[in-house]
């Protein structure tokens, strides 16, 4: 069967009950709700016009006010009392939706979590997805409840937050005031997207690096030009203006190539991998190479490799032979 007919029939089975409940709705609104062009809805209606009870005589067909459709662009559908309800959710639709909701439950603050639990309780019995949904689990990193509560309050009440935030690259804790926009959950962690007054820009604060969060008695008032991050791609995309480094990775360090966005990778002899990656902060890269404990070498820039060696030497001097 052509996909065309299959999708059209699925859509028509939903259209009839939808339209029966909304007499005089505009074709534009229908099109928006169904995610298709208004012209497609018009085509669907022209097919429905020829549908009706078996052994149909004219009186048994679905009735659509074609004048209203062509004229004001509104839909009035009647004489389809046998299709009052849409079709049940197909098993894969139910599974996708239930897993999405359970993910939401993991990410939600107290208020939303209660709503998700109630919604799930109502949806499980009608979707029959209960057992299969048990085969998929989504885990999001835990966050200190006090932090989460404060962040949620600031978001709901549109208040400024004072944050004590730890930056691993610099091994440094900073104090900042931020106006929150929203919580983003990606890569298993939660991030607060907010206008940072210190940096004078939009920043993503990882929730598990917020040490203290205090809701201030000030309204959140980000400047008009503050742009939300485009979440359609990866969360952390390298900037083409950032400098590039070349590293050679041994067996245990190869995961770096899978984990960070890298520009290039070449297999070398002996199972080593050469990669090129961008970095914004030198200290971040130095810490990464240190963390790899010798399984990675900095080929370029040479000064960076020397900084790594210098720090390792200084650290080794803490361990008298």
């Amino acid at each position: 069967m052509t996909t065309g007919a299959k999708t059209q029939v699925a859509r028509m089975l939903e259209l009839v009950p939808y339209l029966r409940a909304r007499e005089g709705v505009s074709v534009e609104e229908v099109a928006r709700d169904f995610g298709v062009a208004p012209a497609q809805i018009a085509k669907d209606l022209k097919v429905l016009w020829f549908c009706g009870l078996p052994n149909s005589v004219t009186g048994d067909m679905i009735d659509i006010d074609m004048e209203a459709l062509d004229g004001e662009g509104v839909v009035k559908l009647t004489n389809a009392d046998y299709l009052t309800r849409p079709l049940r959710l197909a098993p894969h639709e139910a599974l996708a939706m239930i897993v999405a909701l359970r993910t939401l439950r993991e990410a939600a603050g107290e208020r939303e979590r209660a709503a998700v639990d109630r919604a799930l309780d109502k949806l499980y019995p009608v979707t029959g997805a209960g057992e299969r949904a048990a085969a998929v689990d989504v885990h999001i990193d835990d966050v200190e409840p006090k932090i989460r509560t404060a962040v949620d309050r600031a978001l709901h009440d549109r208040r400024r937050l004072h944050l004590r935030y730890y930056v691993p690259a610099r091994d440094e804790t900073t104090e900042r005031d931020a106006d929150p926009f929203r919580l983003v959950f990606a890569e298993g962690s939660g991030y607060l997207e907010a206008w940072c007054h210190r940096a004078r820009g939009v920043r993503l604060f990882r929730l598990d690096r917020i040490m203290v969060a205090t809701v201030l008695d000030l309204p959140a008032d980000p400047p008009a030009q503050a742009d939300r991050r485009d979440l359609s791609g990866e969360l952390f995309r390298p900037d083409p203006a950032d400098p590039m480094a070349v590293l050679e990775l041994d067996g245990t360090a190869r995961w770096v190539a899978d984990y960070y966005p890298i520009e290039e990778h070449t297999e070398l002899s002996g199972g080593r991998l050469r990669i090129r990656l961008r970095y914004r902060d030198e200290q971040w890269l130095v810490r990464l190479v240190l963390r790899l404990g010798g399984a990675a070498t900095v080929v370029d820039p040479v000064e960076l490799g020397e900084r790594v060696r210098g720090q390792a030497e200084a650290a080794l001097s803490n361990y008298p032979r």
């Binding site: 009608v126 998929v136 990606a186 399984a295 650290a315 803490n318």
Partner: protein, 321 residues
């Protein structure tokens, strides 16, 4: 051709939906206009395909005996209670969180499955608004090439085999698994199941499956363990939970991430503070300590101190070769 076919499928659906008893196919043939003017063979084939396609959409077509005194015949009908989406009533906050489910999956077909499910809910009178909740943005990524196949076999319980490159290894080995479930952890998917080679539960990171996922048996050919708690199992198969304690010294102004995890803090002098840190894997802790450079010293236990010194020595020697 799509319009004619959609019309026929709709009329067939309506015919079977309004039927109060099972209807034999010759009566269906006469009642639905799309079947007129066909040879017997052509009708039989078309009718069979139509039934299959409707069932593929989730339309439940029942087969049952026809009340005929002198013939053994089957008929068809659709039972309304199996066809219809039951009444669901969600409160405004429940509808808002359900609407958010549409934005969770970052995967084309699962996202569209979720949207379809939501559309059916809307057609059924639930006011799902996808843009109601803007302060929460939970994303569930599925970048792994093997994800689709693994997801499918988990929901159909099909035994599989695949080439797998373990962490740090350069070669792939063929593994054989009865999948029980998949878990998303830190933004990565893991498949959990019964490893047929080890005859024990195992967990595999989906991104390290290097080739095709091949079905190694019929779907539904094994049973899930009773009381499967996917999260608990994944947790037990994953990285070790803290069960030991290490003692480290950190310099003033450094090591805030360690300080916040310390179970005991003791000021040694103006410069140094001693901390007790719980840990599960000595080598993971050693990696973290080394990344902090000369600002931290591992005091004990021996395995951690030695691991740190080994890494620092390798880094001083230039890393790797």
């Amino acid at each position: 051709m799509t319009a004619k076919k959609s019309e026929r499928l709709m009329n067939l659906t309506i015919c079977l939906l309004v039927a109060r008893t099972f209807i034999p196919k010759d009566r269906i043939r006469a009642a639905v206009e799309g079947y007129r003017d066909l040879t017997d063979d052509a009708f039989d084939r078309m009718f069979d395909r139509d039934k299959e396609e409707l069932r593929g959409l989730g339309v439940p077509i029942d087969v049952g005996p026809v009340e005929k005194a002198f013939e053994d015949e089957v008929g068809y009908r659709i039972r309304r209670d199996r066809f219809e989406l039951p009444e669901i009533s969600l409160t405004a906050d429940e509808a808002a969180v359900v609407g958010l489910a549409a934005r969770v999956w970052q995967h084309a077909s699962l996202a569209s499955d979720t949207s379809e499910g939501l559309r059916k809910l809307r057609a059924g009178g639930v006011d799902v608004d996808e843009s109601a909740l803007t302060i929460l943005e939970p994303q569930l990524a599925t970048d792994e090439p093997a994800f689709d196949d693994v997801f499918e076999t988990v929901t159909t319980q099909t035994p599989i085999s695949f080439a797998y490159r373990a962490s740090g290894a350069t070669e792939s080995i063929e593994r054989h698994l009865d999948p029980w479930g998949i878990v998303s952890w830190h933004g990565h998917w893991y498949v959990v199941g019964h490893d047929r080679d080890k005859d024990a539960p195992r967990m595999f990171k989906v991104s390290r499956i290097t080739g095709d996922v091949v079905a190694a048996g019929e779907s539904g050919s094994y049973a899930l363990p009773e009381d499967l708690d996917l999260r608990a199992l994944a947790s037990s198969l994953g990285p070790a939970h803290p069960h030991s304690s290490a003692t480290v010294r950190v310099r003033a102004g450094a090591g805030d991430a360690l300080r916040s995890r310390a179970t005991r803090t003791h000021t040694v002098d103006e410069e140094w503070t001693e901390l007790d840190i719980p840990y599960g894997s000595g080598s993971t802790l050693a990696d973290e300590l080394v990344s902090l450079g000369p600002e931290v010293v591992a005091i004990g236990p021996q395995e951690v101190r030695e691991a740190v010194v080994r890494r620092l020595t390798a880094l001083v020697a230039g890393g790797g070769r």
